[in-house]
């Protein structure tokens, strides 16, 4: 029988519990506790690597962003310093013109007034005055605009400031930030030979907020400008915010401002390089962590699935080998390989397991002595494979032994056998050839339930015995006809199961003809059987095969 009896599994309604399932419930219990509960190592490694790579990427992006922002800020501060530097000549040029004019005209009030008047409208100055350069009691010689704050200063300070102004090539800047309103003073002269010093004062915004920041080029930055190179709140000239103590990213630059310097400090209001670059580290971090998590989960699932599959495969393999070994043991017990013996006969048996089959088949043979001269020979084949087929075979085999012991004839044995097995209930049927051998009379009486006809071999060759083939047992109640054949002296009868000749896709007639052709030779019974097996199944049988050979010794 080539195929596993597949339909058997479909007939769940027959209520029989298969031996396979009971083995399964016994076999799995010890594996239950081995199922791992925590995450697997591989998943943790994947997660760790993923998070580490993410962290490195995010850190790199953050560092890049940071250095980019710093670079951009320094660039902007340099630009702002350049703008401031460009504004300084606006102060120095009119003062320088005034100084030259004052020397040339001996501080002529009219000429100087017409020069200074346009400069004192608030921008750039609120007050312009001309002072003697080296007077012991310095007073302004003339004033345009409001009174100079310088006049309220202590006399020695004024004297020192004015004389210093003649020694410098640049504007001397006077810190009047303590005054109210806040002012800066600028003094300039033509040089060490100067007799006059031109002095101007500019007003600073009282709240220190400057409207210089209306320049849109710097609208994304906050800034503070201090007089001198310290960031002292008292020396703050202007800022874009009320409290210019900037936190976070800042950059600073110093700009020469007359005989002093200006310190400009800047901080960005938002990311100078754009918000995407600023968010990139967070994007990378979030996305990378999500990917790492997903990868770890996926790994965990795969690892578990594989572990499950491996465990299942192991279980199945063990169950299968258990089941197979149970069936094999059963079959070996049922089919002893020692040669049956009966007076006057040479008997030989073979059982060849199929090479394709993973389960044992339900093939069997039997030799049952009745009295001194009569023996019952039986070859049968239960449909399907595996433990259930082997079990069915066992029950049929022993039932037949009982019927034979009761003295039943071959046709009666088969008739009774038909009541024991039922294809709908058991999922099996069986073909059985039953022959009553009379050694002395040289004849055999056959009854056949769907089984291949036996082969009779004598000196003239091999011929099939034409038995009356009835239906296999287990299909329906049937009566069987007997056929009696005479066996010549030293004749041989060969009964077998279909594995010996049946080939896939081939008519049984072709296989049977091949079988008949192989049944030649004058050697012993063993030589005959081994020779036939060698010819018919050189690569082993596809299916299980049972063979029983009987030779008359006389």
């Amino acid at each position: 029988m080539v195929e596993i009896d597949v339909a058997r599994d479909g007939v769940g309604a027959d209520g029989t519990k298969s031996a396979g399932s009971s083995l399964r419930s016994d076999g799995t219990s010890e594996d239950e506790g081995k199922r791992p509960t925590g995450p697997h190592r591989a998943s943790i490694v994947v997660l760790a690597v993923g998070v580490a790579v993410t962290a490195v990427l995010a850190f790199t992006a953050a560092t890049l962003h940071d250095s980019n922002e710093n670079r951009l800020l320094h660039q902007r501060v340099s630009e702002a310093a350049a703008v401031l530097s460009a504004a300084i000549p606006n102060l120095q040029t009119p003062l320088s013109s005034g100084a030259v004019l004052a020397e040339a005209t001996h501080a002529d009030r009219g000429a100087l007034t017409s020069l200074m008047k346009p400069l004192t409208a608030g921008r750039p100055f609120v007050s312009v005055s001309v002072w003697p350069a080296h007077a012991p009691d310095p007073r302004p010689l003339m004033v345009v605009g409001s009174d100079p704050e310088l006049a309220n200063r202590p006399e020695p300070d004024v004297r020192t400031f004015l004389s210093q102004a003649t020694t410098k090539k640049v504007v001397s800047v006077l810190d009047l930030l303590g005054a109210s309103p806040r002012r800066l003073g600028y003094a300039f002269s033509v040089g060490s030979s100067a007799r006059y010093v031109v002095y101007a004062e500019a007003a600073l915004p009282q709240n220190r907020r400057s409207n210089v920041d209306s320049n849109v080029a710097f609208s994304d930055l906050d800034y503070a400008i201090y007089l001198g190179s310290t960031e002292d709140a008292g020396r703050l000239l202007a800022a874009s915010v009320v409290d210019p103590r900037f936190r976070g990213r800042t950059a600073r630059d110093d700009v020469p401002f007359g005989d002093q310097t200006l310190r400009i400090v800047m901080t960005p209001r938002r990311e100078l390089g754009g918000s995407l670059l600023a968010r990139l580290p967070w994007l990378i971090g979030g996305l990378g962590t999500a990917i790492a998590l997903a990868a770890a989960l996926m790994t965990e699932r795969l690892v578990r699935r594989r572990a499950d599959a491996e465990r299942l495969a192991l279980q199945n393999a063990r169950l299968f080998s258990e089941q197979r070994s149970v069936a094999q043991t059963l079959q070996h017990c049922l089919l002893p390989e020692e040669r049956p013996e009966f007076p006057g006969l040479d008997l030989a048996v073979r059982y060849v397991p199929g090479v394709d089959g993973v389960d044992v088949g339900g093939d069997w043979y039997d030799v049952i002595g009745i009295d001194g001269s009569r023996v019952m020979i039986i070859v049968g084949d239960v449909s399907g494979r595996g433990l259930r087929a082997a079990t069915a075979m066992a029950s049929l085999r022993y039932a037949m032994r009982a019927y034979v012991a009761q003295g039943d004839a071959p046709d009666e044995v088969l008739f009774k056998l038909g009541k024991l097995i039922n294809i709908v209930r058991d999922g099996h049927f069986a073909t059985v050839l039953c022959g009553l051998v009379d050694v002395v009379e040289h004849k055999v009486t056959f009854a056949n339930a769907g089984h291949p006809n036996p082969l009779l071999i004598d000196r003239d060759g091999a011929t099939f015995v034409n038995t009356k083939v009835g239906p296999p047992v287990g299909i329906e109640a049937a009566s069987y006809d007997v056929v009696t054949v005479a066996v010549p002296p030293r004749g041989t009868l060969l009964a077998y199961t279909d594995g010996l000749y049946e080939r896939r896709g081939e008519s049984p007639d072709v296989g049977l003809a091949r079988l008949r052709g192989a049944a030649v030779g004058n050697g012993s019974l063993d030589e005959l059987l081994d020779g036939m097996l060698g010819v018919l199944t050189p690569a082993g049988c596809d299916d299980d095969t049972a063979i029983l050979a009987v030779r008359w010794l006389t």
């Binding site: 195929e3 339909a7 294809i423 999922g427 049984p508």
Partner: protein, 76 residues
């Protein structure tokens, strides 16, 4: 390897409830071994009548050799 499982499932569905006459047309079947026979027999046992039609010569010989010619042409 074979379509024996599909044939078994189809026949199980058809005759699952038992009953009426069953006609199995084997015209397209080239070869059948004992597992195919087992399926036909299981179906045959559940129905009132069964008729196997158009078996190839090989299949017909398999049926004859197994003594099933009458079993598989059974009227009600």
């Amino acid at each position: 390897m074979s379509n024996v499982e599909r044939l078994g499932q189809s026949l199980e569905q058809i005759v699952g409830a038992g009953g009426g006459p069953l006609v199995v047309d084997l015209a397209a079947l080239q070869f059948m071994d004992s597992s195919g026979i087992a399926i036909l027999l299981r179906a045959a046992a559940r129905v009132d009548s069964i008729e196997v039609r158009n078996p190839s010569s090989t299949v017909r010989r398999v049926i004859e050799c197994t003594g099933l010619t009458d079993v598989l042409h059974r009227g009600s």
